[in-house]
Amino acid sequence: MSRTKPKILAIASGGGHWVQLLRLRPAFEGCNVVFATAKEGYRADVAGAEFRVITDANRSNKIGLLKSAWSIFTLLRRERPNVVISTGAAPGFFALKMGKMMGFRTIWVDSIANAEELSMSGAQAGATADLWLTQWPHLARDGGPTCMGNIL
């Protein structure tokens, strides 16, 4: 066990990705956690915890993606977490890719919505993550994601 409290950045876009991220909260017990998502309105979900708003985008909006990447870069630079964890989608992809380059450890939990194949962001972000998880046993494989259970 580390002696100092690890700092976690838990980041996801809104909707289902955010709901899944919140369900992992007990895993962050004893850590300093900063939550980040796309809407101010989600702040109430993590009352009492650190909360940041980032710019969300999806791959049909290229300018939006650049803005999103920039907002996540500035967040990472400011927070300097030990571990970055995400359940997706685009913001998580950026956070894991950039977080990895900045020397932070990374965890990708692929959305339970991806029951047949990994998401595009998941396959790319997961491959370079330090811990790459799928929530479906039939999608786990050597050299690919591991399954440790699901968020239900």
């Binding site: 066990m1 580390s2 690890p6 976690i8 809104g14 909707g15 289902g16 990705h17 955010w18 709901v19 899944q20 369900r23 992992l24 909260r25 007990p26 895993a27 962050f28 017990e29 850590c31 809407k39 309105g41 989600y42 109430a44 979900d45 999806n58 791959r59 049909s60 030990n82 571990v83 964890i85 450890r105 965890i107 939990v109 959305s111 339970i112 919505a113 991806n114 029951a115 047949e116 194949e117 998401s119 595009m120 330090d130 811990l131 998880l133 929530q135 479906w136 786990a140 591991t146 399954c147 440790m148 259970g149 699901n150 968020i151 239900l152």
Partner: protein, 164 residues
């Protein structure tokens, strides 16, 4: 109250048209919809484009039944609130989503537990007539359980995951 929701992403006109038609034919006054932005607007159902997260929760808590797209936000919220749910998958080939995952999600969630699925408009129309008979299981707990949480915690503290 029946809450109809298409999620935070694109509208879902195919489903909204069926539900709107059903509400009109059956004279249902107890339906409220969240339809997204830029889509077709129902004629017989009151609606909003989006809910703020707080209102979304209040609406879920107050509803007896959820009808929605097969998104995990919608499905998990229904399970958390212990509400019966009927979903219809959005299809990427019809431009309703960016990839074709919702059909698989719907099938798997149907196998796992208390999610009812209509795969097309005809099935939705048929199942809408049975919705008053749908019941939900006990709400799921607020958090993920056991092995996944443990595995992530171990990784955070020791740098290693728990082997499966």
């Amino acid at each position: 109250m029946i809450l109809v929701t298409v999620g935070t992403d694109k509208p879902f006109d195919r489903m909204m048209k069926v539900v709107d038609r059903w509400a009109a034919e059956r004279g249902r006054q107890d339906v409220f919809a969240q339809i997204g932005e830029g889509g077709w607007e129902p004629r017989h159902i009151p609606f909003v484009n989006f809910f703020e997260p707080v209102e979304f929760k209040q609406r879920f808590a107050a509803a007896n039944l959820i009808i929605g797209h097969a998104g995990m936000g919608t499905i998990l919220s229904a399970l958390l609130h212990g509400k019966p749910i009927l979903v219809m998958p959005k299809l990427a080939r019809l431009g309703e989503h960016r990839n074709e995952h919702q059909t698989a999600t719907a099938k798997r969630m149907m196998e796992l537990g208390n999610v009812n699925v209509a795969f097309d408009e005809a099935e939705m129309l048929a199942k809408l007539d049975l919705v008053d008979r749908l019941t939900a299981r006990e709400p799921i707990g607020a958090y993920a359980s056991g092995s996944l949480v443990e595995g992530i915690r171990n990784f955070i503290w020791t740098g290693k995951g728990t082997p499966p």
